[in-house]
Symmetry: C2
Subunit: 686 residues, 2 copies
């Protein structure tokens, strides 16, 4: 039955034999999809040998230099970090938002002229309130999911698997876009400062991407240490600007004198409208992306984990609120408006502000340099979180399982590769200028916020723990506020590109569902909770294709007899001028070289099968013969011995054709469960 069924699968379905060794790694899936059977009893066993293998390799290889020495699994705890390193690892995205969030809002307000500046303070306040709600909510999430909550886990555990996938897909899109946009914004700013670098935009972007990739493959600790300096320098500089500015404003009664006056305000060309304010708010909300990062990465923190993570989150949000509030107040009192990006005379809001407060001295340049560095490195938050997010999703079977494996340095390397690859493709596709992607990426972040908050509401409701009502209220308010914001962003930015996100996210969800379906099939079909059936072990029928008598044929024949006494040597006789000669040659030695020794050794001599092939085909006759054998002996396995030549130089590869591989593929695809292909290696000495 199987035979006929399998045989109908044509080659055109492009079946591919897959490794099974990897079941090793599917244990997690097995658990999440099938539910692991409980370990019944661990009895002492006579035949179990336990060996410790794979000592750390000695000597420094190139890999060691680039990525650091391999880390043993037991070293994991030493890789954890505290709040001081946590801020650069998980906070660069959020902090750098201060550099572009207010600017994005102000850019929308340009047409309103001076009146626009009156609105930046209330808009910023709204964002800060929203940020605070989200902050409290994520603090609670950290406590509730110390295993590394994140929107995916919270949503899937409380709102169902599909809501979880929606949050996961939204965040994945957000993270990928964030890497591309972050790097390209940083490089864009550097390039506008040093126009001679203009032609190297894409190269610089990819260089930074490579740097971030290598750093993150080296492990989370190293990232924390290396990125600490720029992060805290950036914070110090901006806080310095704000404190000085506010001091100036206060002593001048709210009308400070700019050290370097900002460009004159453009006259208003449009009245104040709710639509414009909403759009400004939606743009300003990009300042909030990256806030969920800490909650995803709780497992990366040193004990007490929850405490460390909460402290890290508090520091990040605290700094961010100071920056957002300070910037909003100062642009207002210094009359600093955005200039149209991409136009001559463009100068970023932070550059104008720093110049106005501190003049264009050394401090100005240090500040600007630190802003550019942090912008370019802001992509790192995605690198910290994306692999962890993928890991959690992969453990549920929705992504290929290698995402759940820890690599050489205990990081989830596949996630790092995937992120670097996707972001690299985006950068290349947009030639390093990703302005057009900016509207897209707040959608994902806010969608994830909303689902995570809503999930927390359900969580509290179910747990009914201490003060669950007030917790529910905070998260409910957060869900409502971020939910409304998602709608505002989608509506306000729909035509500018948010529609792409709206299409990509469902596609990603479909993909993830498909992946899990496939894993479920595999596990279901291979699950076996019965003893091995070792009765009636019958030796297979062995097929040895050969063309001439050689050492290789001899070796294959000898191996064939270790399997079974039922050996068939198959020879293809192409019906060309020279074909007969070759066949005659093999047949002439047959009885002396093959039959006689077999009889002498007390073995049944092999059958010699000559297949005439008028169309000069080689594989088809062998295939047909093997399938025929299979039909003829319905209760036996058929083993096909295919010798393989081991060449030492890959270039020699070109001298041979790929029949061995092709034959194996075809036998597997067209055959059924009883065909087994055995590769017997032959080593060339020279």
């Amino acid at each position: 039955m199987h035979a006929s069924r399998q045989r109908r699968i044509s080659l055109s379905s492009q079946s591919i034999p897959r490794s099974w060794l990897e079941l090793y790694d599917e244990r997690i899936l097995q658990k999440s999809i099938l539910g692991t059977a409980k370990a019944r009893r661990t009895v002492p066993m006579d035949h179990v040998q336990v060996k410790k293998t794979a000592q750390p390799p000695k000597g420094k290889s190139l890999l060691d230099i680039l990525f650091g020495r391999p880390l043993a699994s037991e070293e994991e705890s030493r890789q954890r970090v505290g709040p001081l390193a946590g801020v650069p690892i998980f906070g660069l995205d959020a902090l750098s938002s201060a550099a572009y969030g207010p600017e994005a809002a102000l850019t929308i307000l340009i047409p309103m002229g001076l009146a626009g500046l009156d609105h930046i303070v209330p808009i910023s306040l709204t964002i800060i309130v929203l940020l605070s709600i989200v902050y409290f909510s994520y603090r609670q999430t950290i406590v509730a999911y110390p295993g590394g909550g994140g929107s995916y886990t919270v949503a899937s555990e409380n709102l169902g698997a599909n809501a979880g996938l929606l949050a996961g897909a939204a965040l994945m899109v957000d993270y990928i876009l964030n890497v591309a946009v972050g790097i390209s914004a940083g490089v864009g700013a550097v390039v506008s400062a040093l126009p001679s670098l203009q032609p190297h935009t894409l190269g610089l972007c990819l260089g930074i991407l490579l740097f971030l990739t290598i750093m993150n493959l080296r492990g989370v600790r190293e990232v924390g240490v290396v990125f600490m300096l720029p992060t805290y320098l950036f914070t110090a500089c901006l806080v310095g600007v704000i404190v000085t500015g506010v001091y100036e404003a206060v002593i001048h009664g709210g009308h400070p004198v700019a050290a370097v006056p900002p460009p004159a305000l453009k006259p208003a060309i449009e009245g104040v409208s709710l639509w414009l304010l909403l759009k400004a708010f939606a743009s300003g909300c990009t300042a909030m992306t990256g806030v969920e990062a800490v909650s995803n990465g709780v497992q990366a923190f040193r004990e007490p984990r929850t405490k460390s993570a909460q402290t890290t989150l508090s520091i990040i949000i605290g700094i961010l609120i100071v920056l957002l509030a300070g910037i909003a107040y100062l642009v207002r009192v210094y009359h600093i408006a955005a200039t149209a990006p991409g136009q001559p005379g463009y100068e970023s809001v932070l550059s104008q502000l720093t110049a106005a407060v501190e003049g264009k001295g050394i401090l100005y340049f240090v500040t600007i340099a630190s802003i550019l560095t942090v912008l370019a490195l802001s992509a790192n938050t995605s690198f910290a979180d994306f692999p962890r997010l993928c890991r959690v999703i992969a453990e549920k079977g929705y992504l290929p399982y290698p995402f759940s494996l820890r690599g050489r340095r205990l990081t989830f390397s596949y996630g790092v590769y995937a992120l670097a690859f996707c972001a690299g493709m985006l950068l290349i596709a947009f030639k390093g200028v990703t302005d057009k992607l900016i509207p897209l990426f707040a959608v994902g972040a806010f969608m994830a916020f909303t689902l995570s908050q809503a999930g927390m509401v359900m969580h509290w409701r179910r747990s009914r723990g201490h003060r669950f009502r007030s917790s529910m209220f905070v998260n409910g308010l957060g869900a409502l506020a971020t939910g409304i914001t998602v709608c505002v962003i989608i509506v306000a930015k729909f035509t500018e590109g948010a529609w792409i996100t709206v299409l990509v996210i469902p596609a990603l969800i479909m993909l993830m569902l498909g992946v899990r379906r496939q894993y479920a099939t595999i596990l279901r079909e291979t699950a076996y909770d019965k003893p091995a059936d070792l009765r009636r072990i019958t030796p297979p029928i062995v097929v040895v294709p050969t063309q001439r008598w050689s050492r290789v044929t001899e070796k294959a024949l000898r191996f064939a007899y270790t399997l079974s006494e039922e050996v068939r040597v198959v020879h293809i006789a192409p019906e060309t001028e020279k074909g007969d000669e070759v066949t005659d040659e093999l047949l002439s030695v047959w009885s002396e070289y093959v039959e006689a020794p077999a009889k002498k050794a007390g073995l049944k001599p092999p059958e010699c099968v000559v297949l005439r092939s008028p169309y000069r085909l080689v594989m088809t006759p062998i295939l047909d013969y093997v399938l025929e054998l299979e039909d003829q002996y319905p209760d036996r396995q058929v083993a096909v011995i295919v010798p393989e030549l081991i060449e030492r130089r890959w270039i020699n590869y070109l001298l041979h054709n790929q029949r061995s591989t092709a034959l194996k593929l075809i036998l597997y695809v067209r055959g059924n469960r009883r065909i087994i292909v055995i590769n017997v290696p032959w080593y060339l000495q020279a």
Copy 2:
């Protein structure tokens, strides 16, 4: 000893396991390199079954429509052609030379003005004499080598293998260049007539290349039939022009009146010099390329082969001489000079001549169209010969052996592919404009002529047959004349690009020597003229890597017991949080599911080997374990059973990693002759 030696081969040497099935096709090599042992005796054998397989597939597939139905080997004789079809197949290159040879010589003569025209007749006469010598010489070659002589065979049999390779490499380069230059010249002429096609130059070139490739894959007969019309139309038109022109000239006493007067002659800006005349001669010699084609392809002709081939050659050379002589005479009497190519006002010599003789009526346009068609198709001669040349070289082991295999339509398909690929690359690299390559390609042709003539001299000297002295004289004269011409061409064209040919040919020879060396190694190392050693067949030690108890493991275990009772089940315990759990689970079922059934079936229970892997490596521990076993049991084979999953959709491939393939590769590269990898397929139903 082997073990230690093989183990030192590191993975970095990029060894690749190669197919051995292909030995099937190496019979020819085996003969040419090792010398086949004579078939000793063909005794009736008890255990030989002979089957006829692979009937012609029924129904028309896409391949059938594109390339025609597959041909059985016995249909070969019906694919042969006579002189009528032979001329278009092997003569297009030679005939089309009439269109560019005289023009090339005249272009060099432009600076000499009217005086140049006085020299075209003697130059053409010299070329015609040379051509006649070469003609007689190749006529003799056809008789002497009815198996398809060609320069390669003649040179290698009479002057040694290296001389043969030189001739072969020179011809291969010539043929590849000829395809690129022929197509691009044809398309160039069409484009200059219809300038709106200019932007599609490369597309047109590749289109014609594809057409020629498909035609030649369809088989030699079809080419003959399809190309007959343009070939004979071209001949008729040009002969018509020449006859009319000569008639006009004669009745006007050598001063005919042009129907459309050619452009006025440019005044001479340079005196007559020997150097200029030599260069003109060297350029004009391009008219002789393609003459060797027939002698290479004798086997393609119908019986009596030699006669058919000779007749074909006579027709081709006859027409070519008429055309060359006629053109030389008429440009002289009509005062037609070349115009500078690529300059405004450029008009080809044949266009001027046709217009002068016949006016610009319908006849003119038909003639020009036929010239363009033949130019574009002139590449076909290379397609007819290159694969045959490669076949002969491959049979001696100097090229990968697939070049010696007849494909679906009995053509040597690999040669067709290789030629199409190389020419396509050239066309793409030069964007379809290959003017710069023209100087290169006469070198190869004349080098081959010279070697072939010289070879024939040796041939006659050795044979001492009927009238061998006169034959020797003809060929010796030919060798001398073409040898001098090669020198003239190399010197005259060295700086224009002939130096490239001079570099490429030796590189190609080195490559061919390397290929043969490799084949010789393989055949030497595998040759075995002894009976099989079937004493002391000991079952292997079987290693079954597994991670959990599943149907797949059960199947692998069952197969393991068909091989041997020495079974080791290897389990990797990664030392991560979850590692122990997985190991415990396997161990908990071990005694019940594995040990007990084995004992009950009277088999030795497998050993369970748990390998702890602190660095989360999977392959290294298995590899180390297998190598250790190999050392421990120096007289036994180690069979590693690697289950493979057969997926029906290739996309699912991405869900797994490639450990199975990688493990096999590493085991083969680092292991030794006693390790055998067995793939047990597992079919997914869904």
